[in-house]
Symmetry: C2
Subunit: 166 residues, 2 copies
């Protein structure tokens, strides 16, 4: 997969390696694609500690520590759950930075309130949290790729905004 | 990624859906690719509960419960660790089946005893365990894909060999 997403992952990797930053991922709708892209880059074991693919809500609770009341109040596809997933994986894996993705990749699972293509991406660490809402209009595979690109871009942005220790 | 690996994941998915089987993944060298392929299939949330990308050995210990003495005695790239990773993720996520992949994707990280391309894949569940050794000769991306194909094939083989409850 020698494409621009791997190039983006390589830029993220160079930045993390230069600053000595460690990274973790928590993925729902991207299903492992973000971690896969990061690990396409040789030497990525220097900064990627690992990731959690939390497809079932029970995995979001038990492994990532997302509070059941947050899942009930806001639904799995929400800014609040994205932030809680990112916080959870960062704490579980002990990294500087973490990214989380939750959304509806499609073609099933959409609703009026949470349509297909709605995705939240959160990045936490180095003293800041950021969560953004996206609404993609592609098919399942395209929505996964667009979400993964947003996740890598937000990680790179965060790693680029700070010096290590900030 | 409309390729034969997604077709293989779709065949696995159809089998799991038909039998009501749940699946989990534990990935080291494939870095999330197995889970990504499984989740390219629409409706995969019915059987994939989630996965763990355990790149750092500490994640293999803390999240997957691989005993430190097994890691020390056999090394992370070993049949013993592959089996322990599969057992660990199956227990952590409470699934019928689990697959684990550990190996040296390259280009770095190889040694005389554990060369680049050496990969172990383990499948556990439904009353049986299976672990196999592979030695790929491709580049990093090709070795990841070959390993993911082996993982999906072994899961499908296991799901095809038994009726649910066996």
């Amino acid at each position: 997969m020698a494409d621009h997403l791997v190039d983006l992952a390589a830029r993220l990797g160079a930045r993390c390696a230069a600053l000595g930053l460690t990274v973790a991922t928590a993925e729902s709708c991207t299903g492992g694609l973000v971690a896969h892209l990061i690990t396409e880059v040789p030497g990525s074991s220097a900064y990627l500690r690992g990731g959690i693919v939390a497809y079932a809500d029970e995995v979001k609770r038990s492994i990532l520590g997302v509070p059941a009341e947050v899942l009930v109040a806001h639904g799995a596809v929400s800014a609040q759950v994205a932030l809680a997933m990112a916080d959870g994986v960062r704490q579980a894996l002990g990294t500087d930075l973490a990214v989380a993705v939750t959304g509806v990749a499609g073609p099933d699972g959409g609703s009026e309130a949470k349509p297909v293509g709605l995705v939240y991406v959160a990045v936490v660490g180095l003293g800041a949290s950021d969560v953004r809402r996206f609404h993609w209009s592609g098919d399942r595979a395209a929505n996964k790729r667009s979400s993964a690109e947003a996740a890598l871009s937000m990680l790179l942005e965060r790693a680029s905004a700070v010096e290590h220790g900030a």
